[in-house]
């Protein structure tokens, strides 16, 4: 494992050998909480790829959810942190993009493929605080602030994530504003969509929207009912994204959309996905309203025209599970 030494920007990180830190923390993290099937995944061969999005914003792709990094004079803001096992590689890539400290981490929701690296990466950052937050001047930059919707915190506590990974700044209203690296940032809560704590992050100057898992380009929407997800919440979130995205002239580009998983997108991609999800919802609702049981609905094939693109018969989220979640979500 390569030795990582940090630049002299962070009091926490000065001359510290990061490899030992990561090794120790990952071992501890894995002992503290289960990542389910992901815990069995081999991360040794995972490379973190960087895709420049626009004007200091980058999409990092590895294993787990996409990470977005915003860089600038104020420091680094990152959205989601993938798995704990990848934190060293992720941090190395971020340092290549900017030597400034990680000031903020925003979590789009509480699943481990999006928050797993919180506890490793937040301590390497430095959010400047003051007033009655820090007693001593040198304490003022201790770790990056982790921002999330309130229920993300509740879920992470319930699931016994390590304390270091918990959000340090939560909110419970529909929207939170920030101004960082010379641009306004809106964090928009999407109620009961993929989970109960989803947020969309909208960089208003660079015109980039980060969606978390309410939008992916790889699969049917994962509706985590146990954490408050619902089909109508997903559709509402997708419509919100369509509302705030604007294609450029000739319809190429314009507002860029970083999905929770999959490729960088724009409004048209979200529209196609929104249309697909809405059409399937409408079909299943009509079938259910006609008196069909769940098994009869499955047999009717309401997703057939999209299955070879988005469906799966194996893995953690199958087409059958998607149909069941929609069926449950359209009753009444």
């Amino acid at each position: 494992m390569p030795q990582i030494t940090t630049a002299n920007h962070s009091t926490l990180c000065e001359e510290k050998t990061m490899s030992r830190y990561f090794r120790n923390f990952v071992a501890g993290s894995l002992a503290l909480f289960s990542l389910g099937s992901q815990a069995q995944q081999n991360f040794d061969n995972v490379e973190i790829e960087v895709l420049p999005v626009r004007d200091g914003i980058y999409m990092l792709v590895g294993a787990g959810g996409n990470i977005t990094v915003q860089t600038g004079v104020d420091g680094v803001l990152m959205i989601d942190t993938q798995y704990a096992e990848l934190s060293e590689k992720i941090y190395s890539k971020i340092q290549e993009l900017s030597p400034t400290p990680i000031r903020y981490i925003i979590n789009t929701h509480s699943h481990p493929d999006h928050v797993g690296g919180n506890a490793n990466l937040a301590p390497l950052g430095a959010t400047i605080t003051g007033g009655n937050v820090a007693r001593l001047q040198e304490d003022a930059g201790d770790g990056a602030t982790i921002v999330a919707f309130e229920t993300v915190m509740n879920n992470m506590v319930d699931e016994k994530y390590p304390v270091e990974s918990w959000p340090s700044e939560t909110f419970f209203v529909e929207r939170k504003d920030m101004y960082f690296n010379d641009e306004g940032i809106e964090i928009l809560h999407q109620p009961n969509a993929h989970t109960d704590g989803d947020v969309i992050v909208w960089f208003r100057k660079t015109d980039v929207v980060v969606t978390g898992d309410v939008f992916t380009t790889t699969m049917y929407p994962f509706i985590d009912k146990a954490k408050g997800g619902s089909i109508n919440g997903v559709i509402a979130a997708l419509n919100t994204i369509v509302d705030i995205t604007i294609p450029r002239a000739k319809q190429e580009g314009g507002t860029l959309v970083v999905p929770g998983h999959g490729r960088l997108a724009d409004e048209a991609d979200v529209v196609e996905y929104r249309d697909m999800v809405t059409i399937i919802r409408d079909r299943i609702k009509a079938l259910r309203d006609s008196g069909m049981t769940l098994e009869q609905v499955k047999a009717a094939g309401p997703t057939q025209d999209y299955d070879s693109r988005y469906g799966s018969n194996e893995g953690f989220w199958t087409t059958d599970m998607f149909i069941e979640a929609v069926y449950d979500g359209v009753q009444g």
Binding site: E49, L51, M59, V61, N66, I235, A236, L238, N239, V242, P247, A249, K250, Q251, E252, G253, L256, G262, R263, L264, A265, D266, E267, A268, D269, V271, E272, R274, D275, T278, I279, D282, R283, A286, A300, P302, Q304, D305, Y306, D307, S308, R309
Partner: protein, 275 residues
């Protein structure tokens, strides 16, 4: 001295001629630049006003494509998100007038790319000739896709990937974002033929091949085509036009009008070939 000088001149001439021949061979290409008028009298009903709803005969589509087509509601085209969309590059050759020009590296005089501009909705396209790497799997897909070209004699071969989801036909038969386009541009004096071969593992059972012809027209003026979407019909937030299975009111209309068996009107590879 004169004979010697004469020999040198001949030598220089031979060297220059050889260089010119080598250069032609190295770049082996035809000039396809210019303004090209689309000859849409070929397949005019489809390329002009558009195909009938549920007219799928001759398309090598699978059941998934057929279901998608039968769900399609033309009201979709009135939605603001759809009003200004260009045709994707695999459909573009069926429609508008075309301008083609080349980008040349000033130092080497090698053509690095061919560029195209179409009239309707103004899509512009770059066909890279430098054999650069294709985009990563996580890079955006676009309406025109990512195109690499190579010359084979007088034929420009182009492979286009990284396309957004589009359509095989303008009546709801989709082409997925996993589809790809192989094209062949062939110039015969004043005519340009574009052969487009679309492959799609999601919606096609075999490649779908179309050819479209153009005639050069130096006087052709390609007009601007600005587009600004507008709400034409007030709809509920998030409304998505579509027909539920079995409820498409146009089911059978095309087959009845032309006296075609309904099953045949719904396409499939078997409808591409003579009995």
């Amino acid at each position: 001295m004169k004979p010697a000088s004469h020999s040198r001149s001949i030598g220089v001439l031979l060297v220059c001629s050889s260089a010119a021949v080598l250069s032609t061979q190295a770049n082996a290409q035809f000039d396809i630049s210019g303004n090209w008028r689309a000859l849409i009298h070929e397949d005019q009903p489809e390329r002009g006003p558009g195909p009938d709803i549920m007219e799928y005969v001759g398309l090598p589509i699978n059941e998934a494509a057929r279901i998608a087509g039968m769900s399609w509601d033309p009201a979709q085209l009135a939605m603001p998100e759809f009003q200004c969309r260009p045709h994707p590059s695999d459909y573009g050759s069926r429609h508008s007038n075309l301008r083609v020009w080349q980008e040349v590296d000033s130092a080497s005089q090698i053509t690095t790319a061919w560029r195209t501009h179409r009239e309707w909705q103004e899509p512009e396209r770059t066909i890279h000739m430098d054999q650069r790497e294709r985009p990563a799997s996580y890079a955006p897909h676009t309406w025109q896709g990512f195109s690499l070209g190579t010359w084979d004699g007088n034929m420009l071969n182009i492979l286009t990937t990284d396309l957004k989801r589009g359509y095989i036909r303008r009546n709801g038969i989709p082409r997925s974002d996993e589809g790809e386009l192989q094209e062949h541009y062939i110039r015969h004096d004043e005519f340009l033929t574009i052969i487009a071969v679309v492959k799609d593992p999601v919606y096609l059972t075999e490649p779908f091949i179309r050819s479209s012809n153009y005639i050069v027209d130096p006087a052709l003026a390609i007009a601007p085509y600005p587009c600004s979407p507008a709400v034409e019909i007030e709809r509920a937030w998030g409304y998505v036009p579509h027909y539920l299975p079995g409820q498409n009111p146009f089911n059978g209309e095309y087959a009845n009008r032309y006296g075609i068996d309904l099953d045949d009107s719904l396409g499939g590879a078997q409808t591409m070939y003579p009995d």
